[in-house]
């Protein structure tokens, strides 16, 4: 089991697990950068996905790169920085097509309320997301 984080978003909290076994260097960089606090917007090419605009020192190589993403996935995009949270149908894409990316974590538990609030971002604009270690640090 990977290290656990808590994600505060729009007045609610969900738990996430870092995939330390599959993306050890990236997860370590994220863990060391916690707490991460910033604004989240919806992406413009990739569907139901939030982008958290924060800076994480970039690891030297991509790990656990996936072409298909699923609701609950936490992604790190080398060269773009920040984190992505998938909350529905989504695939990381750009103007040049699909863009394989490292899957670095998973949100755990019932995501119904998270999804409901994430869908509002398109209409209401950017919302704050804070990612902390499970113990609050």
């Amino acid at each position: 089991m990977g290290r656990m984080v808590r994600v505060d978003f729009d007045g609610m909290r969900v738990t996430g697990e870092l995939l330390d076994d599959r993306a050890p260097r990236i997860c370590a960089a994220i863990w060391d950068a916690l707490p991460l606090d910033g604004q989240a917007t919806n992406v413009s090419w990739s569907g139901d996905m939030l982008r958290l605009w924060v800076t994480i020192p970039e690891p030297p190589e991509a790990e656990n790169v996936v072409t298909l993403q699923h609701p609950g996935d936490i992604l790190f995009i080398p060269g773009w920085n920040g984190l992505r949270f998938v909350y529905g149908p989504a695939q990381m894409r750009g103007a040049r097509g699909p863009h394989p990316v490292p899957r670095v974590g998973r949100l755990r538990g019932d995501l119904t309320e998270f999804v409901k609030r994430a869908r509002r971002v398109e209409w209401e604009g950017a919302k704050q997301i804070t990612v902390r270690r499970e113990d609050g640090r």
Partner: protein, 113 residues
């Protein structure tokens, strides 16, 4: 479209199509003939900045303000080009990009008099 003007709605930024925003209140415009997906007027899969397009299945307009291609999770979709913004797009594009950060905004298309 001309007959339906003025048209006013709240627009939101595209989630699959790049630098593009779209309307959310369906508007009925005449359909074309033929077999899907070519049963619309002038089916087109590419947009340039300033293009205004109509997507019949959801009866919405979309406006490209930069790199954009009208798409959904199924991939690129055919749309009908219905207008082109001919003025300088720079200020317009800055405003459109703010939709990502600020959320839905008012949008009006009316006849130029």
């Amino acid at each position: 479209m001309w007959e339906a003007l003025p048209y006013e709605d709240r627009v939101t930024h595209a989630k699959w199509s790049g630098q593009m925003f779209h309307t959310n209140t369906p508007i009925d415009l005449p359909a074309g003939d033929g077999m899907p997906p070519f049963d619309i007027e002038s089916p087109c899969a590419f947009q340039a900045p300033g293009d205004v397009v109509y997507y019949r299945p959801t009866r919405e307009f979309a406006v490209a303000y930069g790199d954009a291609q009208f798409s959904w999770h199924t991939g690129t979709l055919f749309v009908t080009p219905v207008a082109r913004i001919e003025d300088d797009l720079a200020a317009f594009a800055r405003k459109a990009d703010e939709l990502i950060w600020k959320g839905a905004r008012r949008f009006v298309i009316r006849r130029r008099v």
